[in-house]
């Protein structure tokens, strides 16, 4: 079971990205000791992403290990001065897709729904919140893949539009369009639920 900790929370934001990219630059240039820094900067973010996508801790760790080893194997290809986060997410995403294809479990995973949040006192507020999150997750899962992935990478993983464009191999404009459409679909879906509840 993975450790749940708020004390070892990953560094987030631009600084963490810059640190990771600087460390990766050093690692690509031959400084072997920098890989530990690359791991520390990337692993928590990648693990969170993989865990949310796979909903299996063991599988997420396996994919994380493969992602980092691919980063290691391809370190010489890291472009000087480039950002490492989009590259790392793109490798993780590719490995995850390959893994889904191999095991032919994508449909099953979609049906399984989200992981159960940690048990908590069943107050009305928490139950309501849980229900809202569940509804949002349901609506997100109904989005076309291109929109869903763009939404998850920006909203959940905190990647910038430029980084998401890089991960998906498209343009910033295309990502903006996908996000706009995704938000419109979510608004419509959640609005319909509210109306249905009211009736």
């Amino acid at each position: 079971m993975p450790e749940l900790s708020s004390q070892t929370e990953p560094a987030t934001g631009q600084q963490a990205r810059d640190d990771a990219s600087l460390a990766m630059d050093r690692y690509a240039a031959g400084d072997d000791s920098a890989f530990g820094e690359v791991y520390d900067a990337l692993a928590p973010r990648l693990y969170g992403y993989l865990l949310r996508q796979t909903r299996e801790a063991a599988r997420a760790e396996d994919l994380l290990q493969q992602t980092l080893l691919q980063i290691h194997a391809a370190r010489g290809r890291f472009f000087p001065g480039a950002e490492v986060v989009p590259w790392a997410f793109a490798i993780a995403r590719r490995l995850m897709i390959d893994s889904y294809r191999k095991k032919k479990r994508e449909a099953q995973l979609v049906e399984e729904g989200g992981p159960e949040p940690p048990s908590a006192p069943g107050t009305d507020d928490l139950l309501h919140r849980k229900r809202l999150v569940q509804e949002l997750d349901d609506e997100v899962s109904k989005l076309p893949e291109a929109q869903r992935v763009a939404l998850e990478l920006t909203r959940r993983e905190g990647l910038s539009l430029r980084e998401v464009a890089e991960v998906l191999g498209t343009t910033v404009m295309a990502v903006k369009l996908r996000l706009h459409r995704a938000q419109a679909s979510l608004r419509a879906g959640l609005g319909k639920r509210r109306r249905d509840d009211a009736e």
Binding site: D40, Y47, G48, L95
Partner: protein, 224 residues
């Protein structure tokens, strides 16, 4: 309200990954750059060597000015295409899919317009040649073009987790256009169907071949 705990991987995983990386050394940037430059250079020079072995440039009935104009244009299109396909735009993942698709499709068509357009400006230069329908140019273009394609695919092998097909197509077209530049040096025919069959179609075929091969060769290897 306390912030939600962030899931983190087991601490043992860090030691395991670092140990696995230590046990399997990976080439550093300088080594990869050297290898890539070597492969790209070989991919560009080998067709020139083949071209010279097969007889080299031939003016034929073309005016010298037409030869220079078509060669300069074809070379410029090929050079632009090579730069657009091989450069990564400052990003490890390379350029966007749309860019690569344009690189695969647009330059071959530009080549057609350039060659036929300038040939049309000279008398009798766009007439059909019964003895040269374009099959020889087609074969030679494919032969010259497949060499750089193999070299480019080798240079970028396992490097594209995002759009390997599009990258493969762009590399294929670039290889095909490099071949077209050489073929243009000895082919005086400006008949549109000849140019299409013998000079442009091979570049598009190599783009297709590059896309098919790219899907297998350019994607990072999946673990067993």
């Amino acid at each position: 309200m306390p912030s939600e705990p962030t899931p983190v991987p087991r601490p043992e995983l860090r030691a395991k990954v670092l140990e696995l990386a230590r046990r399997t050394p990976a080439p550093v940037r300088a080594q990869v750059t050297k290898r890539t430059r070597g492969l790209v250079t070989a991919g560009l020079l080998l067709p020139i060597a083949l071209f010279l072995l097969l007889g080299g440039a031939e003016q034929g009935p073309r005016p010298r000015l037409l030869l220079l104009l078509t060669f300069a244009g074809t070379f410029a299109i090929a050079a632009l295409s090579l730069w657009a396909a091989l450069s990564r735009g400052g990003r490890t993942l390379g350029r966007a899919r749309a860019w690569l698709v344009v690189v695969a499709l647009l330059p071959p068509l530009l080549l057609l317009v350039w060659k036929v357009g300038f040939s049309a400006a000279f008398p009798n230069m766009t007439q059909a040649w019964a003895a040269r329908p374009g099959l020889r140019c087609f074969g030679v273009s494919l032969l010259f073009g497949v060499v750089p394609l193999i070299a480019f695919l080798s240079a970028r092998r396992g490097s594209d987790p995002v759009h390997p097909r599009a990258l493969g197509a762009a590399l294929g077209a670039a290889g095909g256009l490099w071949a077209a530049t050489l073929v243009d040096l000895w082919c005086p025919v400006g008949f549109p169907w000849h140019v299409l069959l013998g000079h442009v179609l091979p570049a598009l075929l190599l783009a297709t071949l590059g896309a098919l091969a790219g899907a297998r060769l350019l994607t990072p290897p999946s673990p067993p």
